[in-house]
């Protein structure tokens, strides 16, 4: 039985704990933690930071979802990083080369991105299913290799265009872009709504379809699922491909809403952030959304720390501390819950408080 404590308490504990750690780090380096945190919160209401945070959160949300699909099947898809960059460069090249009517153009680009992400995820999936290669190692290698592939494809001798000092792919026509909503001085990505729909679809798939049930079942216990007629190999393959497909969309909000072409300098590491966000959100679509927004807030507001002479890298420490402490906190609360359940059962069975040996309180 999981109570609300199991769900809400761990992230809260983790955030408080990592705030403490960062305060200590800040105190050691001789700055005022309260002032630093206040500056970060104030920054949220200044200029375009709030909208930027939501936009970045949208990217992190997709990344978290992609990782979470793998987690459901007990697969550790570290390769989201490689899959999204591969998909982004392929989709940008394809989108730049095509000239189609508005909605269809966008749709085709998104489809190409999802397929490219799935294709790049297919390699580790096939290696795992047929050769037993751990997906962790193979996807790490593919993550590195993708840097070479991107550089190779954006090379002017292949598909790249040199504009000024920056190598990039051909710009995507107006017809392929996803229009945003201007708020204040900033533009909210239209892709935010598409991401929300994908989140809903993820929830529906897991909780309301037979496929989702089988996925979770073989993630919990491959042997039990096999006894129920679910092939673990098939589920591994499908989960990896789905994860890769969603990973392919990670770069789309920025590609179709702001940049319109993929450059060699485009931001990296969204995929690794997704792992942290999925852990923070416990693979639940709502939780992942909160985690993504928190992460984006830390990233965007850290810039303001320079004003109070605090290195903005403190935000990275805070992020690392949050991930580590959130997983520890989940474990601790789970154990406490388990002990409480044992006590409850003990009381119900014997009619008196359980002794220590039966798992009762000391």
């Amino acid at each position: 039985m999981t109570s609300w404590r199991t769900k809400v308490l761990p992230p809260l504990l983790a955030i408080i704990f990592s705030l403490l750690i960062c305060s200590i780090a800040l105190l050691i380096s001789g700055s005022d933690p309260l002032q630093a945190f206040a500056t970060m919160v104030e920054q949220l209401f200044r200029g375009t930071t709030a909208i930027d945070t939501v936009n970045l959160g949208c990217v992190y949300y997709l990344s978290g979802l992609a990782v979470a699909i793998g987690f459901q099947m007990n697969l550790f898809n570290i390769g989201v990083e490689g899959q999204y960059r591969f998909a982004a460069v392929i989709a940008a090249i394809a989108g730049g080369a095509m000239h189609l009517p508005p909605v269809i153009h966008t749709f085709v680009i998104i489809l190409v991105a999802a397929l490219a992400g799935a294709a790049y995820a297919a390699l580790p999936a096939i290696l795992k299913v047929t050769r037993g290669v751990s997906e962790v190692i193979s996807t790490i290698m593919l993550n590195s290799i993708v840097g070479g592939i991107v550089a190779f494809l954006i090379n002017p001798s292949q598909f790249g265009v040199l504009t000024g000092n920056n190598l990039r792919t051909e710009e995507i026509d107006k017809s392929g872009q996803v229009p945003g909503i201007p708020i204040g001085g900033a533009t909210l990505f239209g892709f935010v709504f598409i991401a929300a729909v994908i989140g809903l679809a993820y929830w529906f798939m897991l909780n309301r379809t037979r496929f989702g049930f089988e996925l979770k079942a073989s993630g919990e216990s491959a042997t039990a699922a096999a006894a129920g007629g679910v092939s673990a190999k098939k589920m591994t393959l499908v989960a990896m491909l789905l994860s890769g497909g969603v990973a392919g969309l990670i770069a789309m909000p920025e590609l179709l809403g702001r940049d319109f072409s993929y450059a060699i300098t485009s931001t990296q590491n969204y995929g690794f952030t997704g792992i942290a966000v999925a852990l923070l959100g416990r693979n639940h679509p709502g939780g992942i959304a909160l985690g993504a927004l928190l992460w984006a807030f830390l990233d965007k507001s850290a810039v303001s720390l320079e004003q109070v002479d605090v290195p903005k890298e403190i935000a990275v420490i805070m992020q690392g501390a949050i991930v580590l402490s959130v997983v520890v906190a989940y474990e601790v609360v789970k154990r406490a819950d388990l002990a409480a359940a044992q006590r409850r059962v003990g009381r119900a069975v014997t009619g008196k408080p359980a002794s220590v040996a039966e798992g009762g309180a000391v």
Partner: protein, 425 residues
């Protein structure tokens, strides 16, 4: 089966496979056989393609230098995984090590740098041990978090301490590096041999020359750590207990082994070795300071080298040598040299195909022929490889090697498994 049991009735006939027992080649002899075989293939490839960089002193030297961090990270992985803890966090511990090495070396010389690197890496290991052993957090999750944390802490400390000194938050001021020593009479003789360009002998001389000239104390320590790890883990009581925690912690517990303590020791040693790997990037020629993204995924490659080496010290030495060589070759020789290496791979595959045919494994032999054909076609159709993809030679090699070899590997049985005292069944 029956003939075997008749000879030796005390043997346990139920679990022993029915094959007649073949004489096993001892580990060191197999290592030498492999080394001779590899040198033979490389010298043949170098002779047939005319690319001398394949076996030059320069290549061997660069390869040796680049293999060291990978070797140390792989040893780190070995210590943790033999104790049953998967350590993806090697990368983060290595990053901590690079910062510690630069900081220590700047203020107290190279040995202080090495010490600081080991200490910081071990701290990362301690954190990993607390999370995975005490709190039973998923090992990979904790490792990923430590990679994040290591990166963040190193960046923060670099901004705080190195920026006032170097004016750049991404790098440290130049720090001293280890002196190097050469076995000069041996090295001179080998140089002569190499210069004569005789097939085989000159190639071997070039490769060996690269290993004996300009060697730093850190490199010697790293190489010595391989037999030392073997001795400690496989030939002492302590090692047996540590490995038993990785194979079957519940059984170890029933024999009175303090599993938590052994896991802690294994993971902390692992962190220290990874930190040392970071120091090998900073304190050797070609390093000379902390640089952001210096490790560039070498912790992960070290882990792959360990898996390639079947979780054994000798094997991971081979894995580290392979990755170091792939990396050193492309630095020393560029695209043409990597193409020549492809030619060498074709030769290796040809040998493998012959072996498989003798063993009558037709399918494996057919795959070998197809693979060799594809590689030879790539070699034949190109003069040079795309320069953007060449830096990833080692990564491609890892993928191919894992795809070919992974089914013969045997990880520690309880590697990555949850364990809590008194909850075994």
């Amino acid at each position: 089966m029956s003939t075997v049991t008749d000879e030796n009735p005390s043997a346990t006939p139920l679990t022993v496979p029915a094959q007649p027992r073949r004489r096993r080649v001892p580990g060191w002899a197999r290592g030498i056989l492999w080394a001779v075989g590899v040198i033979a293939i490389l010298s043949t490839a170098s002779y047939l393609t005319g690319v001398n960089t394949l076996t030059s002193t320069n290549t061997a030297q660069t390869a040796f230098r680049l293999a060291l961090p990978i070797l140390l990270a792989a040893l780190g992985g070995l210590w943790a995984e033999r104790a049953g803890v998967i350590n993806i966090g090697l990368e983060g511990m290595m990053i901590l090590g690079t910062w510690g090495a630069a900081w220590g070396a700047y203020y107290g010389g190279v040995w202080a740098g090495l010490g600081a690197a080991i200490l910081l890496g071990a701290l990362g290991g301690l954190l990993h041990a607390i999370a995975t052993v005490t709190f039973n957090v998923n090992h990979i999750v904790s490792g990923v978090a430590i990679n994040l944390l290591g990166l963040g802490v190193a960046r923060y400390l670099a901004t705080l301490i190195f920026e006032p000194l170097s004016g750049n938050p991404r790098q440290s001021p130049p720090v001293p590096t280890f002196d190097t020593y050469s076995a000069s009479f041996l090295s001179d003789w080998l140089s002569d041999l190499e210069a004569q360009q005789r097939v085989g002998i000159s190639d071997a001389a070039g490769l060996i020359n690269g290993l004996v000239s300009k060697v730093s104390p850190l490199a010697m320590i790293a190489i010595l750590l391989v037999p030392l790890s073997y001795y400690i883990l496989w030939r002492t009581r302590f090692g047996l207990r540590l490995r038993s925690c990785g194979e079957n912690p519940v059984a170890a517990e029933s024999l009175g082994v303090n599993v938590y303590a052994y896991k802690y020791i294994g993971v902390i040693c692992s962190g220290g070795l990874a930190g040392m790997g970071g120091a090998a990037l900073v304190l050797l020629a070609g390093g000379g300071g902390y640089l952001e993204n210096q490790t560039n995924g070498r912790g992960y490659i070290g882990l792959a080298a360990m898996i390639f080496g079947n979780w054994r010290p000798g094997g991971l030495l081979g894995g580290a040598a392979l990755f170091g060589y792939a990396d050193g070759l492309r630095l020393a020789g560029g695209g043409t040299a990597v193409l020549a290496l492809l030619y060498g791979a074709v030769l290796l595959l040809a040998v493998i195909v012959v072996v498989q045919l003798i063993r009558r494994r037709w399918v494996a032999a057919a795959f070998g022929v197809v693979g060799a054909g594809v590689l030879y076609w790539i070699y034949w159709a190109n003069d040079d490889l795309p320069s953007d993809l060449i830096p990833y030679t080692a990564h491609f090699v890892t993928l191919i090697v894992l795809a070919v070899a992974s089914q013969r590997l045997r990880p520690p049985k309880a590697d990555g498994a949850r364990y809590r005292r008194g909850e075994g069944d």
